[in-house]
């Protein structure tokens, strides 16, 4: 059985757990580094990236998550999770995990009053995907190895690099589980590749 973890230091954990289970995989809340051994892929949920980074450092997740990715295990970041995965953050000296070769901007669409929903076409997923953007970031620049999956008003809001996936929006906040289902297939493929 496929087991997918959700980093449960802070943020919208419950919604991801529900989506993973709706896609037929087993879901685990990951609060301790040892739990990374039990899972085949991990979701870095939405929340506050500054808070998550502080807790990632406090509990030894920083190098453990990088190593998890190096082993070829899939990682999916939504919103704050996308920021954690980027190799460069606009206006900041240091990035976080640096898993994906891209430069991102935080709160790039503005403050909460500018948060919005919009229907998007997302490669590998399909069209009319109701995407929920909350104080969302977007990708300013992406390296050649990064596949752009979706744009909104010419800004990159979903991308993939090998076994890494990220969205600026929150697929876990709606009942449309297509994005999570795609991540589950990525985890499935990685398990076959390493079996």
């Amino acid at each position: 059985m496929i087991t997918i973890g959700v980093l449960a230091l802070q943020g919208a954990v419950r919604e991801h757990i529900r989506s993973i289970e709706a896609c037929g995989a087993k879901a685990v809340e990951v609060k301790r580094v040892e739990q990374l051994e039990e899972i085949n892929g991990i979701i870095l949920p939405g929340g506050e990236s500054t808070t998550m980074r502080r807790l990632i450092d406090s509990y030894g997740f920083f190098s453990a998550l990088k190593e998890f990715g190096r082993q070829g295990k899939p990682v999916f970041g939504t919103c704050a999770g996308l920021i954690l995965m980027a190799s460069e953050i606009d206006g900041q000296d240091n990035a976080h995990l640096g898993l994906m070769n891209m430069k991102v901007a935080r709160n790039a669409f503005g403050r909460q009053v500018a948060s919005f929903e919009a229907d998007l076409e997302v490669s590998h997923i399909g069209d009319a995907f109701n995407a929920v953007f909350i104080r969302a970031p977007y990708v300013l620049e992406a390296g050649p190895e990064v596949e752009i999956l979706a744009t909104y008003q010419d800004r990159i809001v979903a991308a993939k690099q090998g076994h890494y996936l990220c969205t600026a929006f929150h697929p876990e906040l709606t009942d449309d589980n297509r994005v999570i289902a795609h991540f589950v297939t990525m985890v499935e493929a990685s398990m076959k590749a390493t079996a």
Partner: protein
């Protein structure tokens, strides 16, 4: 093609704060300390609740200069308080771009009968509640997030515990009811019927419910998480303690790892004196902030 201010976007914003700590701050410097300590948001205020209590008189929305300074100082969301029913204070805060408005009993109510019709606004609102009826009325008016009222500025957790337990216990009672009992229950607690049906179906509120009002130590924060809070607000507790920076970090970690008791013991060491606090029986009825609205 795109929609702002939808219920999903407003409630979703609060979902992203789950498992986190929202800290009261009165200036940019405190806001930066809170952000560095791992706060998920800050509440910009002119005075923390314990000082409001001590000062007496009418407490209003903060001077916009303070709110603006805090908005410019941090990258995490900024919340601010408007008086209950004060349409203009709320619109002013919305126009300034605050991320969440607390329609709060900590300030002196502007309207002693009606709350704001919060569905009208693009900015989301958080409101206090002591029981399921109050929670459901606020959701009915459009609140996207709830918190216990507790008794603000006391450093005494007892009221927040009572309010969290009361809401949870009434939800359990509702979930066990047959459908034909719900209308009468709605009448008794003064709650919208359709909303109660939804809560009964899902076994939980449709919005997050944080703990607030009287949290003074890391153990207090963990206790509220244990009782089912989605996160915590810490008001006077942090910047009225001896070492705010250390204290703020300890509260954040205790909230994340609320069942890791060895860790909470480590975090609680050498924090210095917590705020002095007030025993409930010493507070006169007219000084109880939680009774200012229902």
């Amino acid at each position: 093609m795109s929609n702002t201010g939808t219920e999903r976007v407003k409630r979703g914003m609060a979902e992203m704060q789950k498992g986190g700590v929202i800290m009261d701050v009165v200036n940019a410097e405190q806001a930066k300390i809170a952000e560095a300590a791992g706060a998920v948001a800050v509440m910009a205020l002119e005075r923390v609740p314990s000082d409001i209590r001590a000062a007496g008189g009418v407490a209003r929305m903060a001077d916009p200069t303070i709110t603006e300074d805090v908005l410019n100082a941090v990258s995490i969301p900024v919340m601010a308080k408007a008086r209950i029913g004060h349409i203009v204070e709320a619109r002013v805060l919305e126009a300034m771009g605050v991320d969440y408005i607390d329609e709060s009993e900590v300030l002196t109510p502007a309207d002693d009968i009606y709350h704001l019709n919060k569905s009208d606004y693009t900015v989301p609102f958080v409101c206090g509640c002591r029981n399921l009826g109050e929670a459901a009325r606020r959701i009915g008016e459009g609140a996207s997030m709830l918190r216990t009222k507790g008794e603000p500025g006391t450093g005494n957790i007892v009221e927040a515990v009572r309010h969290m337990r009361e809401v949870q216990s009434e939800i359990r009672k509702l979930s066990a009811m047959s459908k034909d009992e719900v209308m009468t229950f709605a009448k008794v607690i003064g709650a919208p019927f359709e909303l109660l049906l939804q809560i009964r179906e899902e076994g939980r509120l449709p919005v997050v419910n944080f703990a607030a009002g009287g949290i003074a130590t890391p153990s207090d924060a963990a206790l509220m998480m244990e009782l089912g809070a989605d996160g915590v607000f810490v008001g006077s507790g942090i910047f009225k303690s001896d070492n705010p920076e250390k204290f703020a970090k300890a509260i954040v970690e205790a909230t994340t790892h609320y069942q890791d008791y060895a860790l909470i013991s480590e975090l609680s060491k050498g924090l210095g004196t917590a705020m002095k606090g007030l025993e409930m029986s010493t507070i006169a009825a007219h000084d109880r902030m939680q009774d200012r609205s229902e």
